[in-house]
């Protein structure tokens, strides 16, 4: 295994991301008991702020890797970084169950599925054919047209904010909500998953000629 600077940078970024995720989970676990966190938040740059900026930077860097990497496997690694960072951001938003679901479903399920598809369909050695993209200039123009509008809306709109309450575990309340108010969408989602299961098998299997 030859270490290029890019690889070393990638490993460092991954390690920093995992560490930040663990710190975020620890913050949620000790949440209300730790007055130190809210005390530091009043300062110019608290621990929570630093955590947010690190996680946001890694998320956006991963998304950039997905968009612009030349190798499809590097795109998959960028997707891993983006998904991990988004999951850690959920922890900062005191959505603990959502963060764990992100970890289990996206990283444990979807990303593995994507990697399987990469392995099954492309000849990995041929970097140039494996992930060619067209119109990078057009894509950048599109990004320059869309992103500033959204960012301006986010920054200029006078949002009516509420004071966020203390971080509490959401799992029990989510379970209650799914089985009372959101029961019908919940059942429809289970039917969708069943249809997906059958449909994916029917589409992806090889035709076996019976003759």
């Amino acid at each position: 295994m030859n270490l290029t600077p890019g690889k070393i940078l990638g490993w460092l970024a991954g390690a920093a991301l995992v560490a930040a995720f663990l710190v975020g989970m620890a913050q949620l676990a000790i949440g209300p008991a730790a007055g130190a966190w809210s005390a530091t938040a009043a300062g110019p740059l608290g621990v929570r702020d630093v955590l947010f900026y690190v996680l946001a930077a890694l998320t956006v860097a991963g998304a950039g890797g997905v968009a612009f990497a030349r190798n499809i496997l590097h795109s998959a690694i960028g997707l891993l970084m983006a998904l991990l960072g988004a999951g850690a951001l959920y922890v900062l938003l005191s959505a603990d169950f959502l963060a764990v679901t992100q970890l289990l479903v996206y990283i444990g399920g979807v990303l593995v599925l994507v990697l399987f598809a990469v392995m099954l369909t492309s000849r990995i050695g041929e970097v140039n054919v494996s992930n060619a993209s067209v119109g990078v200039v057009g894509g950048l123009l599109l990004l320059a047209a869309v992103a500033p509008v959204l960012v301006a809306v986010a920054l200029l709109t006078p949002w009516r904010l509420i004071a966020p309450g203390p971080a509490v575990a959401t799992t029990a309340a989510l379970g209650d909500a799914f089985l009372t108010r959101w029961l019908l969408p919940f059942e429809v989602a289970s039917m969708v998953l069943l249809a997906t299961l059958v449909g994916a098998i029917v589409i992806a299997r090889k035709e076996i000629k019976a003759d």
């Binding site: 998304a63 997905v66 479903v105 099954l120 369909t121 599109l142 869309v146 969708v192 994916a200 992806a204």
Partner: protein, 102 residues
């Protein structure tokens, strides 16, 4: 400036923009699906942020959970279609899958 709603919205907007660029520029079908996942994640970050900072309660998180469920279903079916395309055309370049054009 303390971390608040706009910071998370900016992250969501950047995720959406980069996902859009991925969907538009990639010729590899798996790459296109990755872009869709990025777009859905940007929406999810927005849902969770609004739920925490504006509405309170759990409704935004429930929406985000449904989005995750549908994204998983979309990935499974999408990648199955990609495999079927690969078996038929021996490539997953989305420009070459043009059997119905002629």
């Amino acid at each position: 400036m303390q971390i608040s709603l706009p910071h998370f919205l900016v992250v969501g907007a950047l995720l959406f923009g980069l996902g859009l660029v991925t969907v538009v520029t990639r010729r590899n079908a798996v790459g296109v699906l990755m872009g869709v996942e990025l777009i859905l994640n940007g929406a999810n970050v927005n849902f969770a942020a609004f739920s925490h900072y504006v509405t309170g309660g759990l409704t935004g998180q429930i929406f985000a959970l449904f989005v995750i469920v549908l994204a998983a279903a979309e990935a499974a079916v999408g990648l199955a279609i990609v495999l079927a395309i690969f078996q038929t055309f021996k490539t997953i370049d989305v420009r070459r899958a043009d059997l119905m054009r002629e």
